[in-house]
Structures are given as structure tokens and as C-alpha cells.
Amino acid sequence: MDFFPLYLTIKVSFAATVFTVAIGLVIAWTMAKKEFFGKDILDVVVMQSLVIPPTVLGYYLLALLGKSSPLGRFLEDALGFQIVFTWKGAVVAAFVSSLPLFVKPARAAFEGVGAELENAARLLGKSEIYIIRTVTLPLAWRGILAGTVMSFARATGEFGATLMIAGNIPGLTQTMPVAIYDAVQRADDYTANILVGLITLFSFTVLYLAGRFTRGRF
């Protein structure tokens, strides 16, 4: 039994979650606290990957980051950074598809910290950064953590877009969901059953944990 898919899935999901949380926090906070032109459009773009078919998403990513696109050529020629058909491609696919699952609960958590509390802190002479650190984040962390867990789980299960942009190269880009598909195609029930069992167990655990985080004292 080859455990590379398990190892790769964990690696890809961790990397994707780091990006999701870092970028998602900025997006979620801005959407919750600021009014700006194009807010609705940004919302639609971020949420898109919840509804758009993963293959379509993969196609867009391929068009954006592949060798035929200026961005893809620039990344590869100037920076030596190849995304398509590498594990980095799987990270991009996992990031894009898990972002909305982080942004939605994180934004709701930020919105849940009323403007009055933040104004109270401003009136006491505090700067915006200080207020985020001492008031907003400590009150919103449950929602943020729940979002992190959900988006990590979504990243581990990414299939369609990953297949499009990273391909199915055993030992190189074959993540667990892709490996399951592969095993079923080969009629390798033994491998398929183990991988399916692992993912099922993992999904149950994640939802249970996410549920616990959202119940809070405050």
C-alpha cells in the first residue's frame, strides 16, 4: 500500500490552509468592517467556487497559470516557478476552492463583534491594529477557527480542479481523492476502501470539531 497520497494530501492541505487563512482574514475583515465600491462583486468572486463546477474552476486556473498565459510564463521563466502539473498546482486548486468556506464564517464572526465595542475601544484612545488584536480577534476567534477547520477539510477533499491543474501523476501530484478515483478505475478495492475509510473518519471528526468551536461563552 502506497501512502504517498496521504502524505501529499496533508502537505497540500496545510499549505493551502496557510494561504486561505492569511488572505481570507484580510478579505473577511474588510468585508465585515468596511464599505467600498465593488464589495458585492468581490463577494460573488470569492464565493464562486462553492457553485461553479470544479472542472470549470480548474480550467480557469489552467488558463491563468498555464504555460500559454503571460502570468504562467512569467512565473516559470523569470522565477523558475512551475505550477501546472506539480503539487503547487494542487495547492492553488485547494486554496481557491476552500477560500469561501473560510471567508463566510470568519466574516460572520467579525460582523458579530459590534461596532459599538470597537468604538468603545477607539474612545479609550486605541489604534485600529490594537483594537483588532485586543477586541475583534479575541471575540471572533471561534468563528475563525471553525472556518479554518472547514477550509482545511475542503482542501483535503479537492478533486476536480486538482485533477485539471495538477494532473494524476502517482508519487508526484496524486492526492487521496485522485488516488481513490484511480484505485476504483483499476478495480483495486483494497486501496480504495482504506482511503475512503480514512477520509470518512477525517470528515466526521472535522465537522464535530467545527461544531464545538462555534459554541462559545460570549
Binding site: 459590534g114 459599538e116 465595542l117 468604538n119 468603545a120 475601544a121 477607539r122 474612545l123 479609550l124 484612545g125 486605541k126 489604534s127 485586543t134 477586541v135 479575541p138 471575540l139 460570549f218
Partner: protein, 364 residues
């Protein structure tokens, strides 16, 4: 430090246009709900930007629409106690009070918070979280948190409205003591008449975004300048009439509702004969005359007879409505319970009353 402001802002349905100057005193902004009182506090503190205007503390500009000055909230050093307190739910009483001064040295923080805990009767509660406090304790924590940061101006937005009657009574007198201890320029917003009278040496009556009258509480209470102020101050008995003439110190008014009325006019108000005026008398100033009483000079004027059509007990006092004259004018009378008992007043009875000239106030 004195606070001086002029604020204009257009809002949905009405606009705010106010200006006041407040020295180191407690000024009450009094008015009905929706008059714009809270919005005025928000504009002074910088939470909401006025369309036009000036905000000055000790002649330093915090906001000036003409020269584009608009200090951020954190630099204004204005204390604000929100109606629902806005305590940080994840911080203890100590953590809340010390939040604004957490840059000081530990020993100094402890000293200052300790002092405030004692003044606010919160000693022993410093490790509690807001959800473990009663309403009054939350309110005192919020006030302590604001005072800890040594504000130059203190804004209190209906600070007692969410509390029980007894707690409210106690906290009002607490506030007066604290104001003596920390004589900070303070604005207190309320729609509670009793609170306005008890706390405000000076009262500004706000209606529909404008100041209708500013003055000492006695001025506003007994000498309202507009019908609205009279109404908000609970005067209730407001009638219309025409100035018919003058005799020595009195103005004679001819009223459709009550007939001829004499009113004491202090300072010889410049009213011409024939001018339409309103006049009013507070329900508790109406004198009920005992049936067997021989009328002396004091009660010779403004005598009326009428039928009691309604009596309602209100705890320590009774409210009666008296139907007077042919026009069916109603006069509201408020009497202590013992007077009611002594004179055996009840619905359906006819009684005589007198409106003392000094207590009839003319609204020009």
C-alpha cells in the same frame, strides 16, 4: 474644560442643527425619543461625522468642516458611556476598567483601577466577567472604564434607562457625587423628566433635531418658552388665548376655554394687546379650595368651578381631570393622596379651584 459645538447633519426624515457651550458642569440633553440626542453625542465624539460644524474642547478644535479638521476618535479624549454599556465581554471588570490605561506601569494601573473600584462600589468584583454582573454593576463598570482614561469631556447616553427604578435612584445620586469628585464637563442624554430635573442644573430641551430651550432647570420646568417644551416638561395644562389688557403687574388674557385669566408677568413681557398667546400651569400647582373656605385676596383671581370626571391613583399622588366651563376644557390636577382623602374628592363631584397668578405662565 469647556465644550463648544455647532453641528448640522441631514438625516432621513429630519435634520439636526444644534449649538451649545458647556462649562465644567453637568448639562442634560432632554427630549423625546428620536429627537436626535444620541446622534449629537456621536457627532461630538467623532463616531458620526456632521455635514457641517465645529467641535471644540478648551478652544482646541476637534472638528471643523470649514478647515477640514477631523480628529480621529482615539485622539479626542472624550469619554462616552453607551446606553447598553458596550463592556468587553471577554475581559473582567479589572480588564475593562484598565483597558484605556494599559500602557501605564502595572503599579500605577492597579492604583488607579483600585481607586475607581472603590468609588464605584465594585471592590471584590474585579475578577468577574460582564455576564456575571447585575445591570447596575455593569453600568458602574462602564463609567469607571471611561473615567480611568481621564477624559476631557464625558458623554452619557441614557445611562440609567436599562435599570430598575431603585437601582436608577441610587445611581443617579452616585453620579452627582462622582461629578463632584471629578468635575468633568458632562452631557447626559435622557428622555426621563425626573432624571433631567434631578441631574441637570442646566437643561437643553431637544426636539426634532433642534434646541427648543436652554436654561436652568427651574427656567425650563416652570417657564417654558415654547408649547413643545411645556408639553415635554409635563405641564399638560396648556391653553390658548388673546391678550386683552394689562393691570399693574398682570396680563389679562381672554381664553375661549377658560374665560378671563390673569397672569403675573415678570419683567413686563413685551406683549401687545390682541396678541395670540399660549399659557400654562403645572398640574401640581392647581389649588383646590375647601368648600367652606372664605375667599381671601390670595385666591380671588382665576377662580373656576368644575366637575371631576376622572381620578387615577399614581402611588403617592392622584391625578384628576376637571371639566371646566361651557367649552368643556379639561384641567389636569395632581394632588397628594392625603389632600384627596381630606377633601373627599371623587369622580362626579363639583369643586372650586384657583390658578395662582404667579403660577400661570405665558408662552409668547
Amino acid at each position: 474644560m469647556s465644550l463648544n459645538f455647532e453641528l448640522k447633519k441631514r438625516l432621513q426624515g429630519f435634520s439636526i442643527d444644534v449649538g451649545l457651550r458647556i462649562d465644567e458642569e453637568l448639562m442634560v440633553l432632554f427630549g423625546p425619543s428620536g429627537a436626535g440626542k444620541t446622534m449629537i453625542l456621536k457627532m461630538i465624539s467623532g463616531i458620526v461625522s456632521p455635514d457641517e460644524g465645529v467641535v471644540e474642547v478648551a478652544s482646541a478644535r476637534l472638528f471643523d468642516s470649514k478647515s477640514g479638521i477631523d480628529l480621529p476618535i482615539r485622539s479626542r479624549r472624550i469619554g462616552y458611556v453607551f446606553q447598553d454599556y458596550a463592556l468587553f465581554p471577554h475581559k473582567t471588570v479589572f480588564g475593562n476598567i484598565s483597558y484605556g490605561i494599559d500602557y501605564l506601569e502595572d503599579s500605577e494601573i492597579k492604583r488607579r483601577v483600585g481607586e475607581l473600584l472603590e468609588i464605584m462600589r465594585l471592590t471584590g468584583l474585579e475578577n468577574r466577567y460582564p455576564h456575571e454582573l447585575s445591570g447596575g454593576q455593569k453600568q458602574r463598570t462602564a463609567l469607571a472604564r471611561t473615567l480611568a482614561a481621564s477624559p476631557r469631556v464625558l458623554l452619557l447616553d441614557e445611562p440609567f434607562s436599562a435599570l430598575d427604578y431603585q437601582v436608577r435612584e441610587k445611581l443617579r445620586s452616585d453620579l452627582l457625587n462622582i461629578h463632584k469628585l471629578y468635575p468633568i464637563t458632562t452631557i447626559l442624554v435622557t428622555h426621563d423628566l425626573e432624571e433631567a430635573f434631578m441631574l441637570g442644573k442646566r437643561i437643553a430641551v431637544i426636539n426634532n433635531g433642534k434646541i427648543e430651550q436652554t436654561g436652568s432647570r427651574e427656567d425650563v420646568f416652570y417657564r417654558p418658552r415654547t408649547r413643545n417644551v411645556a408639553r415635554f416638561m409635563g405641564v399638560k395644562n396648556i391653553f390658548s388665548g388673546t391678550v386683552a389688557g394689562f393691570d399693574s403687574a398682570h396680563t389679562i388674557i381672554q381664553s375661549r376655554d377658560l374665560g378671563t385669566i390673569k397672569a403675573h408677568t415678570p419683567g413686563g413681557a413685551a406683549l401687545g394687546v390682541g396678541k395670540e398667546v399660549s399659557f400654562c400651569i403645572r398640574p401640581e400647582e392647581v389649588i383646590v379650595i375647601r368648600p367652606d373656605k372664605v375667599l381671601d385676596n390670595r385666591v380671588q383671581d382665576n377662580l373656576f368651578e368644575g366637575e371631576i370626571i376622572e381620578t387615577t391613583g399614581k402611588g403617592s399622588t392622584h391625578t384628576m381631570y376637571l371639566k371646566i366651563g361651557s367649552g368643556g376644557a379639561l384641567l389636569k390636577i395632581e394632588l397628594p393622596n392625603f389632600v384627596l382623602r381630606k377633601l373627599a374628592l371623587a369622580t362626579g363631584k363639583r369643586i372650586r379651584i384657583s390658578l395662582k397668578k404667579e403660577d400661570v405662565w405665558i408662552i409668547p
